[in-house]
Symmetry: C2
Subunit: 391 residues, 2 copies
DNA sequence: CCTGTTATTTCCGCGATAGAAAAAAGCTAT
DNA sequence: ATAGCTTTTTTCTATCGCGGAAATAACAGG
């Protein structure tokens, strides 16, 4: 009876407080985890955990998994997210194609799909995306789709508007709104590298580490950073600043005249061009990797300098971004199998022997990694906008 | 009367909540600032500001400066810190000397002083520090000294214990405890670069920027980072990882074999050695700078490559630490006057033309900057442990 | 069965915050 | 001069989230 104006039973409950959101994140990210553990991580009292987790349990978003017996004391009754409570779609839009995944609540891919783009027209692209989402929905049935994430190379404003996407030749396209109309799902739009970094932060092998970097190789070189459990986003995110680092003063020059630029030494087109020149005939990226694995001398010369360049880049990242963990991903990450050893050696040389060794995680899911990143932003957005009756 | 056990009138009030601390920091850092402004910055309602600032005003830690009239509406009555409410001492301890400052509450130096160290014995160093503090106290009288900060090159644990200080040959020295016994003042110990970075964060020209880097030149090259308004501290802080970056593949090699290493290209000893070799006779750092300013060709050759190396380092920092603001400091920062132009040009070449231009701030306070950094940690510590009766 | 240990819950109080409304302190236009 | 406008600041009060203490639960081992 206290002065609340419109308290119909179906009134929208307020959005989750930051603590509830953090709780949701922790349970999602750290799997079955006891309330006691959560309390320690969140720096909350046990009492608070009981209170905070109750609405999630009532809504069926958390489940209590089987009791785990320690050596002594009352067994713990860990909380876990019901990963099949919802599905999400993630789409990476490049200049040529849309690649998508459906995932569960933990961004685990359930099905994936790629579709060529007929052109760069906004309407056409939106139509393709909607088709892909519909097909993915059918390909891996389950809980209803709860959201959609799309990622593009370029600048994105507030998770909704593509302000600049050079490969699509887009400027100020309200993509989230368009996708919501086309699919009826809540949509989130994000820069591709930021999305991938977000996915690594919540669901990747470095999710326990509060600061780490992400490096992607493929069509370009991408670079993302997480510091103190926050993805670092700046005005320059989307410009690909990690893509033009000087890594070898004697290396070939990129289109902008940078010697030994990462855009030449490490990208698929850059390697293909170098090897094509060295061999005198055209090759594909896969052939480059195959020839390098077969120790073809001219090719190995190219990939060895690529490995050194990568090692140097990783060393610079560790020393300047102050991280000791780096995740490697991207559609061209197959390169790592060929150059990993050289890169590691170079990294060792760049790094002070007394310093914490750099932990490397290689995410070899290739193209799916990008789409999964997009799905992760949708999951985040869903968690952040979640409303619970009793909370 | 509710169940509080020992509530004598003089009982210690609880420590400040995080919001009060943030308020204290904002007022300290952003000078005269209206409650309305503070409310916007802290994302608090005006009501909260009234409540939060009251205890500070009652304690005399804040003053209301003269009303400022806007174009319309009630004039603002900005809050400001009473900078002379307390003084702090800051000491930088190197292998050779102790240099100290007394500062006001805003880390503005009131007096400074340098004293040679007789050796590296812990007791002797503590005695020298205590002497320096006493002399500084007398040199610039005022409010009582409220705390003391000491900084050293090396690793420091929890602001109290020097775990490793190569230049002093120390291991596990409980310096804060020792200094507190010797001086009777609350003491804080911190790594030198971290302390300097902290000072820049709270009191430096980049204090409005939430993410920036600090580069120091002098005996070595130091590197500190602030991201999202937090000084980044890692396990490797104190190792000087910014000091061995490859900046010029053709440059001379450092003791560890790194070509064009920042420890050679940019430090005072490195430059002195290069110029000495080039000229065939010994020179001092000041002479190097003077000769370079006089455009002596052999010297200019050295400083020009130093400038290029510095520009490259700044570019790498901006691109990899994702900052667009860098503060240059350190006792050898006089170098900037000589190489600034070259460095800026190189930085421009390293940076994507579409990216936010890098803002550079040069703190030319030289050696005092280090001691001031130490004082800043003492101020921080005082703010963080402050207790107010009515809060 | 009793004791020790750890996890979780219940109950209650406290502190921090926001919201609304009022008061304050100017300015401008009539 | 006074009414009306704007913005800041204060006062008052309701609410929300959190923690502390004690109770309860669920085991292991003597």
């Amino acid at each position: 009876m206290p002065g609340s104006s419109t308290d119909s039973p179906a009134a929208t409950s307020p959005p989750l407080g930051t603590t509830s959101r953090e709780l949701a994140r922790l349970v999602l990210v750290h799997g079955p985890i006891s309330r006691a553990d959560l309390g320690r991580r969140l720096d909350l009292s046990p009492a608070s955990l009981t209170r905070l987790s109750k609405p999630f349990l009532e809504r069926g978003l958390f489940v209590e998994s089987a009791a785990e017996h320690g050596l002594t004391g009352r067994p713990t009754r860990p909380l876990d997210a019901r990963v099949d409570a919802a599905r999400f779609a993630g789409l990476k839009i490049t200049g040529d194609a849309v690649s998508g995944v459906v995932t569960d609540l933990r961004a685990t891919p359930l099905a994936s799909l790629e579709r060529e783009l007929p052109g760069h027209g906004v309407d056409a692209v939106v139509r393709v995306v909607a088709d892909v989402v519909a097909e993915l929905d059918a390909a891996a049935p389950g809980a209803p789709l709860a959201g959609l994430g799309a990622s593009v190379g370029g600048n994105v404003d507030a998770g909704r508007v593509v302000t600049r996407a050079p490969f699509l030749e887009w400027r100020h396209v309200p993509l989230a709104d368009l996708l919501e109309s086309a699919t009826g799902l809540p949509a989130t739009v994000e820069n591709d590298v930021t999305a991938l970094t977000t996915a690594e932060h919540w669901f990747g092998p470095a999710r326990d580490v509060s600061s780490f970097a992400v490096v992607t190789v493929g069509a370009g070189v991408g670079y993302g950073l997480v510091v103190n459990d926050r993805v670092v986003v700046t005005a320059d995110t989307g410009l690909g600043l990690g893509g033009h680092l000087p890594l070898d003063d004697e290396g070939p020059r990129c289109s902008e005249g940078h010697p030994g630029c990462s855009s030449l030494m490490l990208t698929a087109p850059g390697l293909v061009a170098q090897v094509t020149r060295a061999l005198g005939h055209a090759v594909t990226y896969d052939e480059v990797l195959r020839l390098a694995a077969a120790r073809q001398p001219e090719v190995v010369a190219v990939t060895d300098s690529a490995g050194q360049a990568l090692g140097r880049m990783l060393g610079l990242i560790a020393n300047l971004a102050l991280v000791d963990t780096i995740v490697l991903s991207g559609e061209g990450v197959g390169l790592w199998e060929v150059v990993g050893e050289v890169a590691r050696a170079q990294l060792g040389a760049e790094r002070d022997p007394e310093a914490t060794p750099v932990t490397l995680h290689v995410d070899d899911s290739g193209f799916v990694a990008w789409a999964r990143g997009a799905a992760a932003t949708a999951i985040q957005s869903a968690v952040y906008t979640l409303r619970l009756p009793g909370a």
